[in-house]
Amino acid sequence: MAVNWAQVLLNSVVTGSLYLIGAVGLTLTYGLSGFPNFAHAEFIALGAFVGYLVAEQLGLGLPGALIAAFLATGVVGFLCYRGIFQPLAKRGATIIHLMVASIAVGFILRHSIGAAWTWRPLYFTATWSAYDAGPLRVTGLWIWLIFTAVALAVIMHFVLTKTKIGKAIRATSSNPELALASGINVDRVIWITWFIGAGLAAIAGIFRGADTQIWPMTGWDIILPIFAVVILGGIGNFYGAIVAAFIIGLAENIGVVGLIALGLSTTYRIGIAFVILIITLIVKPQGLAMLFRRA
């Protein structure tokens, strides 16, 4: 069977873009608050459903959906941090307690979504015209997705290097005590990061939903590769996450070709991310972070 490698490459870029948007919030909050937020999966799902509400049920279109989902999920992320994780950390909860709490938050959000909407899959009705360019086939949605990911990377780069809040995020991530001593409002830095991180997860949720379907487990379905991106890229490392997202995207899409060639089920594509995750943890737990200056 002839493999259309150009298409595989394009698919990798699409997958990587989705993972990048989904992973940025997780890696930044992980770096700042010091624990992996498993409820990030539900931020993704919540974003997808809010997007569905705005785009389909209210009929306001995709741009409106993206903005509304970003804001609504961002507020939920902020409330989770302020209402649950911050009080827990102040009471001296260990990292294990924080992780359990984040899973609990995830259950609350997931089942609230299920109760508020439905457990049956929902579909975005907007159809995307497909374009053929040589051997490539690309949909309008994919172009938007790649554009969003590139814009995100560029904007985040400028925010992190040029703006006050970006520098504060990096400072707090690398040394909270020193940041506090330098007069940075660490609390504000952290809650802004939670807001933005959850909001970006929502964007990823809408793209994922528009490309496939949405249900309350939408986020859970892709949380494993997103964790692989965070670990491979180095926790809290934005530039590492960019590279890792495209490595994982590439590995998954090449892996799918391999799985088909071997006659295995393509549902194992998620296993590829798992293998990369485990290898990273064994060989180099700090991930690709050593390639980049800490960001």
Binding site: P36, I84, R91, M99, A115
Partner: protein, 314 residues
């Protein structure tokens, strides 16, 4: 509805999940390991039991086989996890559980894939009623629970268990005293996985079937609630936690039929579970029953200066 059968069923469930809760208590309570993939080892025990009983082995060999295979996987997953921080271990094991579920779901040749297979009960008497079957299971499950309880209880109060707790409290200090933390962690994961494997075997032989859908991450989470609610590092506490969580589960199922709620009751149940765990973590992180302080003769002697231990000058 047969009330007695319902109660017996509840008792069996408490016993099975009591075993899993004890195993998590060994790993998390005593050794301080965040095993977020408990269900993976539960699954391994269950599928091993199902496959071994298909080739006609007696039930005790199936249970032991499940425990062994599960322990081997526990050891394997601990190898990358040994050097790892709590968060890395949690992510790795959680992912491991999801992958395993994916495998048994997609591979029809293992045990029927998504549709599962039927599993014959461990002990079946000819012509026995459902009640007698349930009673037999109560006996079998509580026998296993007793063994697991004794093992964990004796371990926890032995020098071995004290070393584990020391590593949990301060890895560096314990290592400075010459304790091999990697070895203790690996052994805790192995033993805990073996116990979870036994519980998995008991579970599928009781329910007479094995399905991938029985091994969702919710199982892991339920067991975590039991341990955290009851009291980590207190074996009586986690058994109490297992009772309370199962009772709450059943109670919610019964209440469902009588209450008219604006929200789907099973969703509400999960939401309440989530809220409960957050409240426990916020207001009573030590659980209902606290960890009992370590008691040894030497400590008592030192405390009361009775001179029970005279080893001056080494």
């Amino acid at each position: 509805m047969d009330i007695l059968l319902y109660v017996l069923d509840l008792i069996v469930f408490i016993g099975i999940f009591g075993i899993v809760a004890l195993s998590l208590n060994l790993e998390f309570g005593f050794a301080g390991l965040a095993n977020f993939g408990k269900v993976a080892f539960f699954l391994i025990g269950a599928y091993t039991y199902a496959l071994l009983s298909q080739i006609g082995l007696p039930f005790y060999l199936c249970l032991i086989g499940g425990a062994l295979i599960s322990a081997i996987f526990g050891l394997l997953i601990s190898l990358p996890a040994l050097r790892l921080r709590a968060d890395y271990l949690a992510i790795a094991v959680l992912a491991f559980g999801e992958i395993l579920r994916l495998i048994v779901k997609s591979e029809n040749w293992i045990a029927g894939g998504d549709w599962g297979v039927t599993v014959s009960p461990a002990i079946s008497l000819i012509g026995a009623s459902h009640r007698v079957d349930a009673l037999i299971n109560v006996g079998l499950v509580y026998f296993c629970l007793l063994i697991c309880f004794l093992v964990v209880q004796l371990l926890a109060n032995s020098p071995y268990g004290r070393t584990m707790r020391a590593i949990r409290e301060d890895e560096v200090a314990a290592e400075a005293l010459g304790k091999d933390r990697a070895k203790y962690k690996a052994q805790a994961l192995m033993l805990g996985s073996a116990m979870a494997g036994v519980a998995g075997g008991l579970y599928v032989q009781y329910l007479h079937c094995v399905l991938p859908g029985m091994f969702v991450p919710m199982i892991t989470f339920t067991v975590w609630i039991m341990v955290l609610l009851g009291g980590p590092a207190n074996n009586w506490g986690v058994l109490l936690g297992a009772c309370l969580v199962e009772l709450f589960d059943r109670g919610a199922n019964v209440a469902k039929d009588y209450l008219v709620l604006p929200i789907d009751p099973s969703s509400l149940q999960y939401i309440l579970f989530g809220a409960l765990i957050i409240l426990v973590l916020l207001y009573r992180p030590q659980g209902l029953l606290k960890e009992s302080p370590i008691k040894t003769k030497a400590l008592e002697a030192a405390r009361y200066e009775k001179g029970g231990v005279r080893n001056k000058g080494n």
